[in-house]
Structure formats: structure tokens, C-alpha cells
């Protein structure tokens, strides 16, 4: 498919046919106040832009271009998307309409408080919902994604110890941890120390005890962990941490296993982030936007970012006065559009929310039992909402080849090569919104591919065959980066001279 820069020049429909600025007054009133004056002529020449090198493309071409591009994609709306750790559940359409309600989408964030009561109420109620679900005492809805939520969590921990005049510089994470955990610690100049896993897939409690020194600020755990297994020693781990004066942070990416069943607050966690684009059904959009709410126990509330939404007798207010707050992570209040979707999702489920986790767990265990004999199972336990298999028995790079070949069977591949502690890892999370039929079909496809690897390995290595492109050369992309379009003759991109743009052509390069 060609790039948008390679289309025939065409004036966009968003330039008025008659070049008059003032089009909304009658003739006799026109220019009464010099509205058509060329104000722009006053802009000094050292500030004025000489050329704007953008293409002009007609709307019909634009719509066809992006529609055809979308048809090269795969989404939950098209089929099964079993990416472990991503919780690719169905994104309810009603939530899109709710987010688009004029009262929500057209509201300026700096409006007077009397004009934003609906949104403040939504945020306050959502905070209460998250408290109930997680067993925490307060939430900030400001972080824009899970990683930003983690950043907030680590900043809060750092501020907490600074207040207590305690010098703690280390963060303990299990060896199965997601890369964001150590990256976040590093952004706050804290050192990451990795704790190995034991033979049951739990964090090794003996090694944990050894590493839990006076300089440990935080323990960052995902529970269930990235192996899809619930940390069996979690209560003991929390006790040990708290006795040591260390805070417990929960990476809530796997919350889909726990809704209505157990609460991280009861497991001993002091802080948690939630991924609204995972557990709470907001759409992934090809890589965001997400939202990463952060919850804390009451002794940490004052560190949360400003402003806080507070309910008074008569109304909701934005409170800016807490002096211990770590500050702000982004402009205004958070990804409000995503909060609306999560709120709608929770209202839809209401008191039956538990069924989400029940069926997520059922689907995962069922799929695991269908596949356990064709692959290696690193830890033989009941899984939570996801599980990890190893295709080591099928050879080196088998996970990669299985992933590419699954595309030909009409499925999106699962997560591969993560967690790092399992070789040739396949991390599979079906979610609760998939039918038994889909799970049966997926298992059948994996079995077929396992067989193909034995009987026709070269064919599998050459997959996929049915996508718009074949297997792509990632080495070339990294060694010779080609990251943008560049016009060959920039001089032709003047504001007046529109005819020559296409003739100059362009190239793709760094």
C-alpha cells in the first residue's frame, strides 16, 4: 500500500471554497469590525513559516487509504487474541458511546467547578469501586497507563522513606517480573535486585528472606504472577516485608483473575496499580491509550498526586492542598475518556463482577488441560487466568515459528519468550469472553502446528503465508533504520505553489 504522501494532490474539504474568513454574517454587517483584516500580515518574518511540507489529499482518498489499511489488521473484533498478560477481552461497544456523550467528550478540563460535577462524580464513584475491588483505601486515576502507575507507586515509596529519613535504595522483584518493573525503579534511581523462583513457580521465600535487608524500599510483585500462578506464600512475604519496614507493591496487570474473589489489600499490599485497558475492558487501540489507576492504603493517601476529587455535603470538589503529594504525572486529571469506559463496564457487571474472574480462570484451565500433553509444562499447578507452556520439546525458535504459523490458522499468536525464565515460552490468556468452541479450535490449531513442525519444519519456518506480508526482516529494520518519509525537493512545499508537490516525489529514510 502506498503512503499517504504518495497520493495525487487534492484540496481538502476543510478549506472553504470561498476564501473568506467571515462567513457567518450578512452582507451589510460584514467587515463592520474589520473581521476580514489580514491580521496574519503582522507576523514578523523571523517567526513566519516559509514552507509547510504536508500533502493535500482529498477526503475520498483519505477514507479509502485508512479503511484499506485497517483491513490489514487483526483485532478482538475479528478473532481470538490470546496474548498472555494483556487480557484481550471483548471491548463493549456501549462503552464507546458513553465516552462520546457530549457532556463528557466536549468538556474543557479547566471549566468552573460548577460545570464539571458529572465528571467529578464519575471519578469519585470509580475510585470507590476500585477501593472495593482491591481492598485499598484511596485511588489516583491520573496515571495514563500501567507503567506510569508503577512510576507513581515508586515515587510514593521514595517520598515516604524520605519523610521518615530512611535511606532505602533497593527494589526486590521476582525473576519472572515484567520489564517495566526494573525500568521504573531505574527511572527513580533505585537499584533492582532479582529474587529467583522456586520449583512451584512461586518467588523463592528463602532467597527472599536473605535479600530482604534494611535498604530494601519496595517489593514489586505481580499476583497471580506472570506464570499465571498465585503466589502461595504471599501472606508470609507481606509479613516479612512489613516487619522489615518495607512496602509491598502489587503490579495489578493480572487482576482479571481476582475480581470479587480475593483482594490485594488483604494479601498485604500497600500499593497497587490497575490496568484499565486490561481488566476493565477499555480498548487497546493498537497500543493505547490506556489508564493506570494507583491505589494505596490510608497511610499513603497524602502522597497521591493532585488534585484529589473530594465529596463534600453538597458537591464534588478538586482539592489541591495536600503538601506531601508527589506532584502531578500529567496534565489535569487522567485519561478521562478511558475512565468513562471502565466506569460503564463496572456498572454493567455490577454485583456479578465475580463471574468475570470465574470464567477467565475456567477458560484458562480448560485450555491448559487440552494442551498440556503436546508441550512442556514448566510448573504443574492449577493456573489462574493465564498459563505458560514451553515448546522447547519442538526445538529452538519453535515458539517464534508456532506464533507465525498460528496466523495462517486465523488466530493472533500468544505472547512468546516471556517470562524470561521459561525457554521457548508461550504465555496464553484466553479471557472470559471466549467460547468453548474457540478454545477447542485454538487447541486443535496448536496441535496441528506441533505436528507440522515434526513433519514439515521448513514450511513452518517460512510462515505466515496468508497475511498481507510474509515474515518481516527485523534485522534490516534495526540495522538500517528507515523511520519516516522525506520529500526529495523541499523547496516545492510552499504554501502557494501546490501543483508541484507531487512532481517532486519523495523517499523513505531515517
Amino acid at each position: 500500500m502506498k503512503l499517504i504522501f504518495e497520493y495525487e494532490e487534492n484540496i481538502s474539504g476543510h478549506v472553504p471554497r470561498i476564501q473568506k474568513i467571515n462567513t457567518d454574517k450578512k452582507d451589510k454587517d460584514r467587515d463592520k469590525n474589520n473581521e476580514n483584516r489580514e491580521f496574519l500580515a503582522d507576523l514578523p518574518s523571523d517567526l513566519a513559516r516559509k514552507e509547510l511540507p504536508l500533502p493535500n489529499v482529498g477526503e475520498v482518498d483519505v477514507v479509502r487509504h485508512y479503511t484499506n489499511m485497517s483491513r490489514m489488521n487483526f483485532g478482538i473484533d475479528l478473532g481470538f487474541y490470546p496474548l498472555g498478560s494483556c487480557t484481550m477481552k471483548y471491548n463493549p461497544k456501549i462503552n464507546e458511546d458513553m465516552a462520546r456523550l457530549e457532556g463528557f467528550s466536549q468538556l474543557h478540563p479547566l471549566s468552573h467547578e460548577s460545570c464539571i460535577q458529572g465528571s467529578l462524580q464519575l471519578m469519585w464513584e470509580l475510585e470507590q469501586d476500585f477501593n472495593k475491588i482491591t481492598g485499598m483505601d484511596a485511588f489516583s486515576l491520573q496515571p495514563a497507563a500501567g507503567a506510569q502507575g508503577e512510576l507513581l507507586g515508586v515515587m510514593i515509596a521514595k517520598a515516604y522513606y524520605k519523610q521518615k529519613h530512611e535511606k532505602r535504595t533497593k527494589v526486590l522483584i521476582p525473576d519472572s517480573a515484567h520489564g517495566t518493573n526494573p525500568a521504573t525503579a531505574a527511572m527513580c534511581k533505585l537499584e533492582t535486585v532479582t529474587v529467583p523462583s522456586d520449583s512451584r513457580g512461586n518467588m523463592d521465600i528463602c532467597k527472599f528472606r536473605e535479600l530482604l535487608g534494611q535498604d530494601v524500599a519496595l517489593v514489586m510483585l505481580t499476583n497471580p504472577n506472570t506464570l499465571g500462578l498465585f503466589e502461595e506464600n504471599i501472606l508470609e512475604i507481606s509479613d516479612l516485608a512489613h516487619s522489615n519496614g518495607t512496602l509491598m507493591y502489587c503490579d495489578g496487570a493480572n487482576m482479571n483473575a481476582l475480581l470479587g474473589i480475593t483482594r490485594p489489600g488483604d494479601q498485604g499490599f500497600d500499593l497497587i496499580h490497575l490496568n484499565l485497558h486490561k481488566t476493565f475492558s477499555t480498548p487497546h487501540g493498537g497500543g493505547g491509550p490506556g489508564a493506570g489507576a494507583v491505589g494505596v492504603k490510608s497511610f499513603l493517601v497524602d502522597y497521591l498526586p493532585l488534585p484529589r476529587v473530594v465529596k463534600t455535603m453538597k458537591r464534588f470538589v478538586l482539592e489541591y492542598s495536600r503538601r506531601k503529594s508527589v506532584g502531578m504525572l500529567k496534565y489535569c486529571y487522567g485519561n478521562f475518556g478511558m475512565l468513562v469506559r471502565a466506569y460503564s463496564y463496572l456498572r454493567s457487571w455490577g454485583s456479578e463482577l465475580r463471574r468475570v474472574s470465574e470464567h477467565a480462570t475456567l477458560n484458562a484451565n480448560y485450555l491448559l488441560c487440552l494442551l498440556r500433553n503436546d508441550f512442556e509444562l514448566p510448573f504443574d499447578r492449577r493456573c489462574a487466568h493465564e498459563f505458560v507452556l514451553s515448546s522447547k520439546n519442538l526445538g529452538q525458535k519453535s515458539a517464534l515459528n508456532i506464533a507465525k504459523r498460528l496466523m495462517d490458522y486465523g488466530f493472533h499468536p500468544p505472547t512468546i519468550y516471556f517470562p524470561l525464565i521459561v525457554p521457548e515460552a508461550l504465555m496464553i490468556e484466553p479471557t472470559e469472553t471466549e467460547s468453548k468452541e474457540t478454545l477447542d479450535e485454538f487447541a486443535a490449531a496448536l496441535k496441528a502446528i506441533a505436528n507440522e513442525i515434526k513433519t514439515d519444519p521448513d514450511m513452518v519456518k517460512g510462515a505466515p503465508y496468508t497475511r498481507p506480508v510474509g515474515r518481516l526482516d527485523e534485522v534490516r529494520a534495526a540495522r538500517k533504520p528507515n523511520l519516516r518519509w522525506r520529500w526529495l525537493s523541499i523547496a516545492n512545499k510552499t504554501n502557494e505553489d501546490s501543483e508541484n508537490i507531487k512532481n517532486s516525489g519523495g523517499t523513505t529514510s531515517l
Binding site: 503512503l3 484540496i11 474568513i21 491580521f39 517567526l47 513559516r49 504536508l54 477526503e59 483519505v62 479503511t67 489499511m69 489488521n73 487483526f74 471491548n91 458513553m98 457530549e102 457532556g103 463528557f104 468538556l107 474543557h108 479547566l110 460535577q117 458529572g118 472495593k132 500501567g146 507503567a147 515515587m155 515484567h178 525503579a185 527513580c188 534511581k189 501472606l235 474473589i261 480498548p283 487501540g285 493498537g286 497500543g287 493505547g288 506532584g327 502531578m328 500529567k330 486529571y333 463496572l346 454493567s348 454485583s351 456479578e352 470465574e358 488441560c369 498481507p468 518481516l472 526482516d473 527485523e474 534490516r476 529494520a477 534495526a478 533504520p481 528507515n482 523511520l483 504554501n495 531515517l510
Partner: protein, 424 residues
Amino acid sequence: MDYIPATENDKKEMLMQIGATSINDLMADLKPQISEDLAFTDPMSELELASHMKKLSQKNKILKYFIGAGAYNHYVPSAIYHLLMRGEFLTGYTPYQAEMNQGTLQAIYEFQSFICLLTGMDVANASLYDGSSALAEAVLMSASYNGRNGIFVNDGLNPQYEQVLKTYCEGADLKIVDEIDEKTACVVVQNPDFYGNLENFQYLSDRAHQFGALFVTCVVEPTSLAIVEPPGNYGADIVVGEGQSFGIPINFGGPYLGFLAVKAPLLKKIPGRVCGMTTDLHGKKGFVLTLQAREQHIRRERATSNITTNVELMAIASTIYLALMGRDGLKNVAKHCYSRAHLLQENLASTGFKPLNSKPFYNEFIMKAPLKSYEKILSKLLKKGIVGGLNLGNDNILICCTEMNTFEDIALYISIIKGTLNLK
């Protein structure tokens, strides 16, 4: 609403296959279990939910906005929404499996290209959360690049952006300083600034470079780039900004769109995702996420940033916006913004408001209302359904115009001012 397709029969069959007696049996590991219900309301059908949400949304009041300060009320062409709602764009994951999502990847490549063309820079990433956190990431990146920890911020940075910057700097042990010297990692400016002022910053970028610091420009209202000289042309090493003006509704503050673009030598240090063009095994053109070894899932504690999920759908929205508007459409928008703002400022000046901009401005400007009149004026405007601007205290107000502010609205604004001040 129930999105679970499993029937009771399916449930029985699956449990049997697993060898479990009940679902609770499967969750025996989970401790401690909650004994009581979550105390939520009854589940709502779509009909009930729609009614509930409509009522809630109507507790908000949508007015005519003469306010910006980081969120700009521009027209969003209809085609954008329709394209974004396609399940192929809306419900896919990050395109790590490139062959499954060439559409999203090509859109990212086009987005990166548009940002480079607009800002005059060499390479851009696939987006960051928003303008303020993009600025913070640029600062962290600068400090990592030259190993220094002083951050110089020029006057005129959006106060919320400054807050965010302080928060990130505190976390990363960086200091905001008063002087540019050899300990300065970067020099930060916003252009147009918080008060709308425009400046050609060649002199400041020269000064930064003299001391080996990087020059970072933050563009919070990027429609300005249609008519104003881009930062790449006055020495910027890094350009960040807020893309909300490009086809994204104001949404009560989010989700928005952070962009970041750099000059070529800084490529290996940029945070976030980057899409590159390559070929497949048959030589056919395709796209992949590339240079992933910079990112958290590979570098882990040595990554420049922990960012994972960005705001892809918003980047796609902006790409479509820029494609629909094109060179002439975007220039048209900028012309409208500029002209209406200057018209309003001129008219307000004639009623006794004092213009306070020391430099040329784009579509935002700051004025001082006649002594002690401002609270009364703002409240009168509010009663007539107009948000007159951002109250900066001391009778100072920050006012913004876009193509959405009609001449009728401007005339109404002026007549209310005149009425309140008892002028003819």
C-alpha cells in the same frame, strides 16, 4: 450486560475435562478469599446504563470556550471517528507481531513522518502519553545523554507542565536550575508559550549549545506550526508537544497525545516505540516496531524509560486529521485561530482591558481587566454560557480563540464586557 459466551453445559463439560468439581475448586490457591459480596449495585442492561450515563453527563455544562491553557477546542472532522471505530484499529494490541497489524504500523510510520515534517526534525517516535509527560521524558533523556543533572526552564512554561516536570525530576534526582552552565543537561522552552507569546529561539539554542546542553522545545498548541517557524529550524535537539489539537476532542483532559522528535544523533536514546520500514522474505515492503532493544521489555533497568502502552489510537486520529486537513486545511485553521484571537484582543483593548503580551502571539493572549472588575465579568460571562478565559489572579486573564469561536460569539463576549463595565 453479559459478555460471557459459556453456557451452563459448556461449564460442566470444561470442568469435567479439567477434573475439577466446581470453579471454586480451581481457585483454591487464591487467598485470602473475600467472604461477602462486593457491594455493587445490580447489573445494568444497556438501556439502563445508557440512561444512567446520560443523566450523569448532563450534570456537566458544555459552554462556549475562550480558554486553552493546554487543551484546545478545535473542530474534529467526522471521518476521524468513523475510521477510529473500525474494530481493526480499535481492538488490536500493540503490533509486536508485525504481520498481523500492518495497518497500525503503517499509520505509525505516517504519524512519525507528519511529526518530523511539522517540527523540522529528523525522527519521531510513535507517541507518548501527553505533552507534559513527553516533556518530562525529553528531560530524562537529555540527562541520560550527557550525564548532567541540571535542568533550565525558560519562563512561560505551562504551570501544569512545570509541575509534572518537577515531579519526574524529583524521582530521577534532577534539579531545576536558574543558570545555564556546564552542569546543564538541557534548556527547555515552550513555543508558543503559556501566554501565547511567539519567539524565534535561535539565540537561546545557541547559548545552550555553547555549554553542551541540549535544547528542548515544547509545542503545546501545534496548529501554530502551520504558520510559525518550526523548532527544527532554530536549533532544537528535541521537540516535544501535545497533539490534542490534531483531531482529538478535549475529553475533560484525556486521553491526549504526546509527541517527541529528535535530530538524528539522538535516535538511539529516544524513549517509546518506533516503527520502521523493511521488507519481507519476498522483498515486499512492510513495517515493524524496531530498535526495540532500547525499550523496557529488553533493556529492563537500563531502558531510558519504562513506557510500554502509549496512545496509538490517538496517534492514528492525528494522522488522519493531518491527512484530511492537508497543508491548506491546516493553514486555514491556523489563520482562523490567529485572526480571531487578534480581533478579540483588539476589541477588548478598546473596552479598557490592558494587553500584556510583550511579543507577537498565536491564538492565546493575556490581558489585565479594568481594576477589580474581573470576577464580575467572568461570572456574567458564565451566566451567558461563555467561559471567558483562565483566571490567573490579579485581574489577569488568559484568553484563547480557535476556529470554533464564531464572530457572533466574539461579538456577544464584547457586548457582555461593555454591559458589565457600563460602556456604550
